[in-house]
């Protein structure tokens, strides 16, 4: 490896070294504070090295990885979210007598898995990153064993993600049987690949659909969405934040990378595959939003809304025009940024309004929140409006990108589903906002622990970010265009 490769691969190396360092630290001295700050420093160093890398040359690191700016930006998002999640976890974990070393280790490993996924260029590295992400998330989801649903939800996640990976492996095997290579971008010298035509070849599309279904499980798209609400509700809030953001962002980015490479090399998408993915997208948009309507638990609402959001994003996967790839990446990264900001905002509020027992937060618990704690309520309003895609919030611009792409490619059924889905979504997003303003909030419910300075500044930061990206989207849009 020359120096350029090492610099390109530096974020992953720092994360890996940080994991090993954390293990050694545990062996040396067990202290709540030390391990937490060590994790924070590792993530910050990784953040700096990733940020430094943006704008530099794209580099292939062995045949397993291909580091480009899209991957770097996605990693940046993942790191920012995990720092927020770490910040939220620290408050909760520090009240315990037990030292939670495993929690921080698993968190570093989750981020490492995500960082491997976003730059992978090979099915082997994709699978390893995928598994690393799932296994460490299983550990995190069931981490607080004394909680009511924790073991149940981690078991569900474990079994279903194992079956998803086995489907994915079968799909990869079919693709390998047809193309003779595991790399996303096979070099031309492998005989048979370039001459491979899609006509009369049913194994390749079949393999692709199986592979897609494995990914769809992680993105909780409709036929594979059953685990989502239970896991969201069962896991502790900072972990739910990781499941909702790090895992989905990393998986979506690698799915997109893989799909675009596939379209480039095999001349577009098979019609049946296109239909299957389009059907999954439409079902996710409509079912996800409709299922959220009657929910009372806020985490369950968010779970169903995440199903719909991933359905919207699938529109980008269906763009099988090679010339539109840059635009597609720009839209994806913008949408993911807005989605992640909204997720972090709302999960921060959930985390801060949880009681001492960390029981599930229902809509009723937020009644009159605006009058008790205006700062938190404003954050909820910005986040929820951003989810709904109301103008002047970041989510609107993200959705605008998607509608623009879908209209350009004349994907009318998808566009119709997006609009119907967004309409249905208003029926549960707006009541959430109205709840905050109701006057008859239980007056005996007191939020006795006041916000610390750190939490206050974090909340304000996210209010500003959500509005800033909504009013001046070009700040991010122009930057993304340079990739």
């Amino acid at each position: 490896m020359d120096s350029q490769t090492i610099i390109a691969f530096l974020p992953q190396l720092i994360l890996a070294a940080g994991t090993v360092g954390a293990l050694l630290l545990v062996a040396w001295r067990r202290s709540q504070r030390m391990i937490a700050y060590f994790t924070l420093v590792t993530l910050l160093l990784t953040l700096v090295s990733t940020f430094n890398g943006i704008g530099q040359l794209t580099t292939a690191v062995t045949q397993l990885f291909y580091v480009d700016d899209y991957g770097r930006f996605a990693l940046l998002l993942i790191l920012l979210v995990s720092i927020c999640s770490l910040f939220l976890s620290m408050q909760r974990l520090s009240t315990d007598v037990e030292v939670h070393d495993e929690y921080y280790l698993l968190m570093l490993l989750t981020v490492l898995g995500g960082s491997i996924l976003v730059i992978s260029d090979h099915f082997a590295s994709l699978f390893l990153g995928f598994e690393l992400l799932s296994i460490s998330l299983v550990g995190l989801v069931g981490y607080f064993r004394q909680q009511q649903y924790s073991v149940e939800s981690s078991f569900k996640y474990l079994i279903l993600s194992a079956s998803a990976s086995s489907f994915m492996l079968l799909g990869i095997a079919f693709i390998y049987a047809q193309t003779g290579t595991l790399s996303f971008s096979p070099s031309a010298d492998i005989t048979g690949v370039s001459s491979l035509s899609l006509a009369n070849n049913y194994l390749l599309p079949l393999g692709f659909i199986l592979f897609f279904s494995g990914m769809a499980f992680k993105l909780s798209l409709v036929p594979f969405h059953y685990w989502t609400p239970d896991v969201y509700q069962g896991a502790s809030t900072p972990v739910t934040l990781l499941v909702a953001t790090v895992s989905k962002c990393a998986i979506f980015v690698v799915l997109l990378k893989c799909c675009f490479a596939y379209y480039q090399h095999y001349m577009g998408l098979h019609e049946q595959v296109f239909n299957v993915i389009a059907a999954v997208a439409i079902l996710s948009m409509i079912l996800g939003n409709s299922l959220a309507l009657k929910q009372q638990s806020i985490k369950r609402i968010l779970a169903y809304s995440s199903i719909a959001h991933m359905g919207y994003l699938l529109i980008i996967v269906l763009l099988n025009q090679v010339h539109a790839i840059e635009m597609a990446w720009q839209s994806t990264l913008f949408y993911l940024t807005t989605y992640l900001i909204a997720c972090v905002s709302i999960f921060t509020v959930i985390c801060l309004s949880e009681g001492e027992q960390h029981q599930d937060v229902n809509l009723a618990d937020w009644q009159g929140l605006f009058w008790h704690r205006p700062l938190l309520a404003s954050l909820v309003i910005v986040a929820v409006l951003s989810f709904a895609g109301i103008p002047l919030t970041a989510g609107f611009i993200g959705k605008f990108y998607l509608i623009n792409l879908a209209a350009n490619q004349a994907m009318w059924p998808l566009l119709a589903a997006l609009i119907i889905g967004s309409g249905v979504a208003l029926a549960y997003y707006l009541p959430m906002v109205f709840t905050l303003f109701t006057e008859q909030g239980q007056s005996d419910k007191k939020y006795d622990h006041l916000l610390s300075f750190g939490h206050r500044s974090m909340v304000s930061l996210f209010i500003v970010l959500g509005l800033l990206l909504g009013i001046f989207p070009d700040v991010l849009g122009h930057w993304l265009l340079e990739f």
Binding site: A16, T19, L23, R30, V61, T62, Q63, L64, F65, V97, E98, V99, E102, L105, L106, L109, L112, G113, I116, A124, S125, L128, G129, E131, L132, I135, S136, V138, G139, G142, Y143, R145
Partner: protein, 176 residues
């Protein structure tokens, strides 16, 4: 149609069939230890499949690692669980040696396959022409796929840490 298949393909499909039948028996058995017997046969059948595809190294690993090490661990774990009432109430009682018949039959089938393939010079020649040796596997693992090996070790670490956390005794007050 069966007549058109080459002898190797025929043996391969037979071993695959054994693997499928054994795996189905694993999940339909009521007694865990009996199910494990079928699991051993299933893993051995997969090893035979590997061997017939010209990957004796993978076949050897399958036998040593899965059928050998992991299965033994599994048996020990199940024996030490101490299911007590659950075991006696829900599992059928041991009915002599009859439970051995099924797995034995399948295992003997696999043995016959191996003997046939070893005895047949034609098959041996075909197998040795496209063999993937352990040296080739090693060079690949520590050459282009070195990073994959490293990531796999982190994957195992994640599994270990998560498993340790779940298996930790509940009450640890005062022990950090």
């Amino acid at each position: 149609m069966i007549g058109q298949l080459s002898p190797i393909a025929l043996l391969f499909y037979l071993a695959g069939l054994v693997a499928i039948v054994a795996s189905l028996k694993v999940i339909t058995q009521k007694n865990t230890v009996h199910a494990l017997l079928y699991l051993v046969v299933s893993l051995l059948a997969v090893a035979v499949c590997f061997y017939l595809m010209g990957a004796p190294f993978a076949a050897g690993l399958e036998v040593i690692v899965y059928a050998g090490a992991i299965l033994i661990l599994f048996v020990f774990a199940i024996m030490m669980f101490g299911l007590k009432q659950d075991e006696t109430r829900y599992a059928p009682q041991n009915q002599g040696l009859s439970i051995w018949l099924g797995p034995c039959l399948l295992a003997v089938l696999l043995l016959i396959e191996i003997l046939v393939s070893l005895d047949n010079a034609d098959i041996q020649q075909q197998l040795s022409s496209s063999v993937v040796t352990s040296k080739q596997v090693g060079i690949l693992l520590y050459g282009p796929y070195l990073l994959a090996v490293e990531i796999a070790s982190f994957l195992l670490l994640a599994g270990l840490v998560a498993g340790y956390h779940f298996a930790k005794p509940d009450n640890q007050r005062g022990h950090l």
